[in-house]
Symmetry: C3
Subunit: 203 residues, 3 copies
Amino acid sequence: MFEILDTIGTLVFAISGALTAMYKKLDLFGVYCIAFVTALGGGTIRDVMIGRTPVGWMLDIDYVFIITLGFLLSLIFNRYLERLRISLLLFDTIGLGVFTLIGLEKGLEFGLSPVICVILGTLTATFGGVVRDILCNEIPVLFRKEIYATLCIAGGILFFLLQEFAIPKEIISASVAVFIITLRLVAYKYNWSLPIGTVFVKK
Amino acid sequence: MFEILDTIGTLVFAISGALTAMYKKLDLFGVYCIAFVTALGGGTIRDVMIGRTPVGWMLDIDYVFIITLGFLLSLIFNRYLERLRISLLLFDTIGLGVFTLIGLEKGLEFGLSPVICVILGTLTATFGGVVRDILCNEIPVLFRKEIYATLCIAGGILFFLLQEFAIPKEIISASVAVFIITLRLVAYKYNWSLPIGTVFVKK
Amino acid sequence: MFEILDTIGTLVFAISGALTAMYKKLDLFGVYCIAFVTALGGGTIRDVMIGRTPVGWMLDIDYVFIITLGFLLSLIFNRYLERLRISLLLFDTIGLGVFTLIGLEKGLEFGLSPVICVILGTLTATFGGVVRDILCNEIPVLFRKEIYATLCIAGGILFFLLQEFAIPKEIISASVAVFIITLRLVAYKYNWSLPIGTVFVKK
């Protein structure tokens, strides 16, 4: 189950990267690279910072194939993918929830404290997009719009709160994922966003 | 003493990052992230490159709290911090001196040669700002203005020159920090800067 | 022989970085930094991701000297280097071939699969330029023009195809390098480039 969700998340993140790169009129190699870093960038930064090397995707060739599939789908169905925006949003949101969980668990595996685990979960889920935006010469959308990362942080906090009770690990993980996914969809529907940083002083 | 200076340096670097991010109209999460990478980016890159993982701040939760404090101070006192520019410059300069020393010492700990240690000292002190500028979609100010990094290099060379004499380690460290801090303030006062790279050919 | 080619590659990559930085009107420190990351950025990212730390150039001080030489040559001969564009292209192409091979071999050393080795070869040869462009606030030229990276991938595939036959290692390496170098020069002459990513849908 978890592996399938991870695969879906990776695939959709790759498609989101490829579409951004096409929009920027990059060449085929550029589109492939951006798909790659969008899907695997967050996990790569996490692995490098905690010392889990060679980084995860180097030891499981499937990731390269999934990204190649996402790349090909984007090339071929480019025009139709625009119309599938709502479906893609759903999958992207699944990726968000699953990647947060993966990051949290890698942090625990390395014996890191809850605060650091929450940071790692958020980073895993969101920094692929940050690297994508930097490579495309944009200020990362993550820092400007939507409450994307805030949901990962909230999910991470929920994860550790639930640990306090005698709840089976699988149920905790599922609850956190469902929590992040639901909140993200609600946030999208009502167009929630964080205030900009100067909100407290500008009258 | 050293820990206090490290704390001050981290705090002020976080504030400098937060102010830059607010100026760029990022949202609250963006401001927090930029504060974080400005304060810890240099040390993170250093640790990752020398293989000191999990990187330093993951093992000492205090850093996260210091940065959160810097973030909150920036949000609340934003307007007044502008007027404190001179005090902030002083603290920023303390950070510069202390972070250079920390980088030098991590290099020695890992048995690296003096040239590499000087590079690591400079990187620790300055690359947080480089990452901040990249995330804000600017050419790093470090590469364009002021002699900021040059002072770290000079301080690093002084550090190794003083090792040649029978001077206690604490006095060497203090001298290097004072040297960097003094020179930086003088450089600021007289508006010193490095010539641009084409100076030798443009007539 | 190989060491000489590695040295030439590093030197020319450093010069290419320095010239780009001068064109962007960075100061002397900025020019030096960009020369550094252009020459060593690809290998650094590779080493960090496979866990080969401290990264390669920290253990061989010669790299710092070669880059310093490239930096000085660029400063002094800046004006004449423009006229040497064809010679520089040749050296740059040698760097491309040699760095690809180095990346491939580091991957094999770490027991990684052929697909990952090809990725590492390409990354070693090309991501110094990507970091250069990001630091100079440009969308990486690698993602937009020429078939630069595609040749590294092709060379990497050839490398593994030749492994299937009883060919001495040295000859395989030489063939791959010659293959990449020749194809790159042909590509340059005929101005080959990859189609942009939307080619399949735009009529």
